[in-house]
């Protein structure tokens, strides 16, 4: 576990970039084909033609997305585009109206309750609110998945819990209650809990939101470090351009229910699409307008009624 702190994310990514580059058949925007040779690598997640509407609001409209195995893939986009909903669909909590979601070859949208239970054991999820069980201590929170899903004796569970807590740097906090933890610490405990069963695949819902710079750094290091050390695949939903570009191998930008940008962080920086540029630079006005649709300004203010 010491390897996490040894190399800076930047260097590591550059050496492993060619290996990790996902050039698969299932993207819908050929302009982003940075690898014309189309080398087919193994994809952990393949989403095709995903459509989902909540009431009158269309959230996804024929979305295609793949997550290469072993990568740190980021989902970014303006608020309210349903990124969290997408995580829930992948986790099987919500059923889409149309489309297929395959994780490790298994079709999630058609799983029964029993199959879902099984599937979720290989899945780790980190919620925005960390979702720790408030009446359990830190130790018991991390031990929870082990106690529920395995028959391991208590002393083995203890060892495992301490290992996981150590990997996030909170072994000493094991007897604290969630109410006593700071926001960053809660997230780290939730992360330890998410990796308790050594999942194949971890999802992060806005892990960087509302964190101080130090916590940001710690979390980013942990996400990429753990991904490499545990040989898992990570899917990160985030608004934070800076941290995400530091750790992600592949970034998807989603808006209006479709993928509007896809590529490695360096590729996207040079991307000419206005929408992508607005997002990457954080410009207040552009394809996503500053003004909510309204009548002409002068008419509105001066027009007496």
């Amino acid at each position: 576990m010491r390897a996490i702190h040894s190399s800076a994310p930047q260097d590591r990514r550059e050496t492993e970039e060619p290996r990790r580059r996902a050039a698969c058949k299932w993207y819908s925007l050929p302009r982003f084909d940075a690898d014309p040779a189309h080398t087919l690598t193994d994809n952990l997640i393949e989403i095709e033609g995903l459509s989902f509407a909540r009431g009158d609001r269309v959230i996804f409209n024929g979305l295609d997305l793949t997550v290469p195995r072993g990568s740190v893939t980021a989902l970014m986009g303006p608020s309210g585009t349903g990124k969290t909903t997408l995580l829930r669909i992948i986790g099987g909590q919500i059923r889409p109206d149309e489309g297929s979601v395959r994780v490790d070859g298994r079709e999630v949208t058609r799983m029964s309750r029993g199959e879902l239970l099984d599937f979720r054991r290989g899945l780790g999820m980190l919620f925005q609110s960390s979702a720790l069980f408030t009446d359990f201590s830190v130790f018991d929170n991390v031990a929870f998945p082990l106690r529920v899903h395995t028959d391991l004796p208590e002393d083995m569970i203890r060892d495992l819990v301490l290992l996981k807590l150590n990997s996030v740097g909170l072994r000493g906090a094991r007897d604290l209650m969630p109410a006593q933890l700071s926001g960053g610490m809660s997230r780290r405990v939730a992360l330890a809990r998410a990796i308790a069963l050594d999942p194949k695949f971890i999802m992060y819902d806005e892990p960087f939101t509302g964190q101080d710079p130090i916590s940001l750094g710690v979390l980013a290091t942990l996400i990429s470090g753990l991904n490499r050390a545990l040989k898992t695949t990570s899917l990160v939903v985030s608004h934070d351009i800076h941290e995400t570009t530091q750790i992600a191998d592949l970034i998807y930008i989603i808006s209006d229910g479709r993928v509007i940008g896809r590529g490695s962080p360096t590729e996207l920086k040079h991307e000419r699409s206005q929408m992508v540029q607005q997002f990457m630079t954080g410009a207040p006005d552009g394809p996503v307008p500053f003004h909510y649709p309204a009548d002409d300004f002068l008419e509105d203010v001066l027009g007496a009624h």
Binding site: G91, L117, R120, L132, R147
Partner: protein
């Protein structure tokens, strides 16, 4: 006019939907079979739901028993029938007040607590987190509370009845001077195990099931906001109370039907 009809129709459909959801929740909660480690969860809930309700139940029982004895004595003494206070108080408590008042108090204290707990766990994503870890929240969070409610309310009703009758005895015999022989033996002669106690307990059992169901469902279904939880707890208390009173009326008709 057409608008009104449409609104009514929508409202009816919404309510039907809620009823359907609640049946779904109930079914899946009961469906999951208990496993090892569940007893611990149940035990914890028995404590939260039952033991922590004792204080209010006992205090209320004492007051109600005493008041019944006082009022009963005042009226019956006018016609020299004060010995019947024992029997009257016992019958009223065992058949009606015991199950109903305990049910109402339970809905207010334990029912709203159950709703709030579950609703809060929903709001802080704990339920979703559990689900994502492959643990069924209905099994782990909802079911222990449901069973705890079903078990605890009848027990609380028994305790309520006993304390109230004893309090009535204290007030009637020790304070107001009713002849103890008449008081207690009048009770023994007139109260029957099945007819009065048994049927009262049946009522209590029915209330226990309904109140617990409403409480856990409202929590599970609550909107995940502070306001949502507040509304949900209010709904639990209001619906439970109305249901208890209405069902009591129906059960009384059914059980003691020969009024003519």
């Amino acid at each position: 006019m057409l608008r009104l009809l449409r609104l009514l129709g929508q409202e009816a459909l919404t309510r039907l939907g809620t009823l359907g959801r609640s049946a779904y929740v109930l079914f899946w909660t009961l469906y999951s079979l208990p496993r090892r480690g569940d007893l611990e969860l149940l035990g914890k809930q028995l404590y939260q739901v039952g033991v922590l309700s004792l204080a209010i139940i006992v205090l209320s029982a004492f007051s109600i028993g005493a008041v019944l004895a006082l009022q009963g004595y005042t009226q019956l003494a006018k016609i020299g029938a004060e010995q019947s206070v024992g029997l009257g108080v016992a019958l009223v408590l065992l058949r009606e007040l015991g199950p109903v008042v305990t049910g109402l108090l339970f809905a207010g204290r334990a029912g709203s607590a159950m709703t709030a707990e579950i609703g809060l766990m929903k709001t802080t994503d704990q339920l979703a987190g559990m689900e994502m870890m492959g643990v069924d929240p209905l099994h782990r969070v909802v079911a222990p509370r449901l069973w705890a409610g079903i078990v605890c309310l009848p027990v609380l009703t028994l305790i309520f009845n006993a304390v109230a009758i004893w309090a009535a005895g204290l007030v009637g015999v020790d304070w107001l001077g009713i002849d103890p022989g008449g008081f207690w033996s009048g009770m023994t002669d007139g109260v029957e195990m099945w007819e009065d106690v048994g049927k009262g307990m049946v009522k209590s059992g029915v209330f226990a099931f309904l109140i617990s169901w409403i409480a856990v469902f409202e929590g599970y279904d609550a909107l995940p906001t502070a306001e949502g939880i507040g509304n949900a707890t209010t709904r639990t208390v209001v619906y439970s109370s109305v249901v208890v009173l209405a069902v009591d009326f129906v059960l009384t008709l059914v059980m003691y039907g020969e009024f003519k």
